[in-house]
Amino acid sequence: MTFLATPEAAAPLNLSRRGLLGAAAGALVLGLGARPAASQATPAAEAMPNPFAALLELRADGTARLQMPFVEGGQGVSTALAQILGEELDLEPARLLLECAPPGARYKLPGAPRVTGGSSSVRTSIAPLRRLGATARAMLVEAAAIRLEVPAGSLTTEPGFVVHAASGRRIGYGELAEAASAQPVPAGVTLRDRDKFRWIGKPVARLDVRAKSTGKMVYGIDLAVEGMLQAAVQHAPRYGMEPAEIRNEAAVLALPGVHSLHRLPGAVAVVADRWWRAHRAAETLQVAWREAAPGAANAMPADFSTRALRDRQQAAPGPGITAETAGDASGALKGAARVVEASYDAPLLAHGQLEPPSALASWNAEAGTLELWVPNQAPDMYLPVVARAAGIAPEKVTLHSPPLGGFFGRHFLYEAASPFPQAIALTKATGRPVKVIWSREAEFLRDAFRPAALVRFRGGIDASGLPVALEAEIVCDHLLNRTFGAPADRHDRTVVEGIANKVYAFPNRRVAHVVQRSPAMVGFWRSVGHSYNDFFMECFLDELAEAGQTDPFALRQRLVEKSPRHQALLAAVAELSGGWKRGPFTAPDGSRRARGIALSSPFGTEVATIAEVSIQDGRARAHDVWVAIDPGSIVNPSTVVEQVQSAVAIGLSSALLEEVVYEHGTPRARNYDGYPILPPDQMPRVHVRIIESGAPMGGVGEPGVPGVPPAVVNAVFALTGQRIRSLPLSRARFGRVS
């Protein structure tokens, strides 16, 4: 999803190319009820606050702490930010400790959003963070000049120290921090020349890897406070139902360690001294669930099934809300030498992050204050909702945002998708701190799933085989309406991203969003609309190539001939894979294989993906995936490669295996046994080439995802002649290939 957007285009702002003092323009944090499409880039630079007031703490031992705007969940943002800050502050990244800042204006890094998402963290914060580091350094130098009674101009820095070369005197940053914080904040600062960078652009080792390899990283689920109780819940099988009678209440209360039972909205909670005791008791509960009141918002009907949802999507009438139009699509289709029609669909997907949701709440009744630890990607969005749940003012809430055991979009604010309201209710009811952990089964009932989507395509090609018209009606929920209250009568740009504004720019086109709400809770899932639309678009393009008897790679070359950036990208991925060869061909191990190609443009980054597949025991298997990625410029090449590896894994997982199936209003799978995610033996080799074209910096965390499903599915077609238009591939069985 693109949080940085001007109303007219989803292109990210070019922070890196602006004058630095003007660079604080940036994304606004989207509040609940805000209209994302209407969020304007801040026109004027926000003033740089005193870095030492809240954001940056320099310590006597030579280390420093940055209260960063983002939360670390494996994407490497803390290391990237340490590289950026360290570069300008002149402090080794390894000496920096980065923590997700509390909510609130005083922790706002000017120009950077307080949302960890949209693959936006590094590209939105690099400019203001450089400025922050340089500002802090300048104030340290001023403080040292006063201390040493020398002109500031005679001082330099080396990592962690201000140095007076003439006298050989050095003062550590920690020693100067207090005096530096009293210096006036300089209006302008000089930034380090790019060709003198020591850490930005270098493969700096991630700062948290040793802690994460030795069990020392503390996640939300691991937290404990004095006197804490633990809770588990039994969720209503269908959202909207409420607990009525509990048939075995007395027996459950008598189980070892059980403290109390609580009827909560849509759930019954058991509080106990140990989590497993609470969990076992919660599983034992025999709860009679009352149907949702008629008209209850978002209630899950008893007859909902994903099969019926797909049928309804197929039947949903067009034309939908126009998202993009050019030329005359219907006229050009009438005049086309050949018209290809197809519909594609993709299912609901679970996030499947390994760390189950938890929340630890501690209510102080006397003071009327709440302390809350809850995994989240957007502290400033959570704060008012947390305060409302506690019935207190936001300033009475202390909100902690712990490192995340995976997120992929899971921890935005979705209705009923986080345990924090339960933890708040339970700490208030018991008068003790309470940690709620959702079992994996409880999580599958309340995850906010990637929306299911269906597209109806019509494509026209001319006599030479070139596509001249495209019509796409994407039938999907309105994610931005449901999540942020964006107007439902306008298209959801996350629902059309990947098809609308595609680089191919067919001369006649119409892309529309046919809004169709589903009762399932929906949320952002790694690469959002691109996760299905790039599959739709890039596979349909292969169908057009087939109809026009053109090679899919050659067709893409023709379609991007006006874009040197995309031409370079295609050339790079072809070269990386040893030259484009579609196949089928025989691999050295004797298996028959073929390759597929996809181009995608997610989150300001350009990506070309080639996948090689075979069929084993009737199933598609990916052996190698080659990815050429051009984020414009980068901060840490190792992290980029690691994020592409990760993105290929989840993209392939979605292509091969993943599907949330509802029957009778409930999800069939409640754990990884029924909802398989990519296991190690299906991981392909991944080959990555980073291209720094110098274009405005794009995102890195998500862009590797969307090219994988279409590259794999296109390869499957090349190999088997079967065109798969519905994911996951595990639904299909393939015969022997020759």
Partner: protein
């Protein structure tokens, strides 16, 4: 019953069927071992029992009373474990890191049994799930750790 965890004997009064995972996490306060699924599907809860990798989320605590239980907290006290950790750091394996305690324990168990495992033996032993998809980095780190 007596639990011997990381060489320390603890006398605990717990239900026989409580999973070892929760005895370790909640009773002993060692939270490096993770809960992921509770069904032995993901392996985030992997610990060693007498040197062998065990998924502690489905292991009744009574069944391992008196045996030598090793968790990630003691990984540095084992020569093979240290080697595995160094390989994990060298290959920058963890991303979110949540599954990595279990991955390191599974790797350590394998290398303690088979010093130089084949690719097939690695594949058979390293089945823990990683939603961040660090599998290739894990494989590379395994190769390094196996070379001693």
């Amino acid at each position: 019953m007596d639990l011997i965890v990381n060489g320390v004997r603890h006398t605990v009064a717990l239900e026989a069927e409580m999973p070892l995972l929760w005895a370790i996490r909640d009773e002993l306060g060692l939270t490096g071992t993770k809960y992921g699924c509770g069904l032995a599907q993901c392996g985030a809860c992997t610990v060693l029992v007498d040197g062998i990798a065990v998924r502690s989320c489905i292991t009744p605590v009574e069944s391992v009373a008196g045996q030598q239980i090793t968790t990630i907290e003691a990984i540095g006290e084992d020569a093979v474990g240290r080697r595995v950790v160094e390989a994990w750091v060298a290959h920058q394996v963890p991303q979110c890191g949540y599954c990595q305690s279990g991955q390191v324990m599974a790797a350590t168990s394998l290398l303690k049994q088979i010093a130089q495992p084949s690719e097939a033996e690695v594949a058979a032993a390293m089945t823990n799930l990683c939603r961040c998809g660090t599998y290739n980095a894990i494989a590379a780190a395994m190769r390094q750790a196996a070379q001693g």
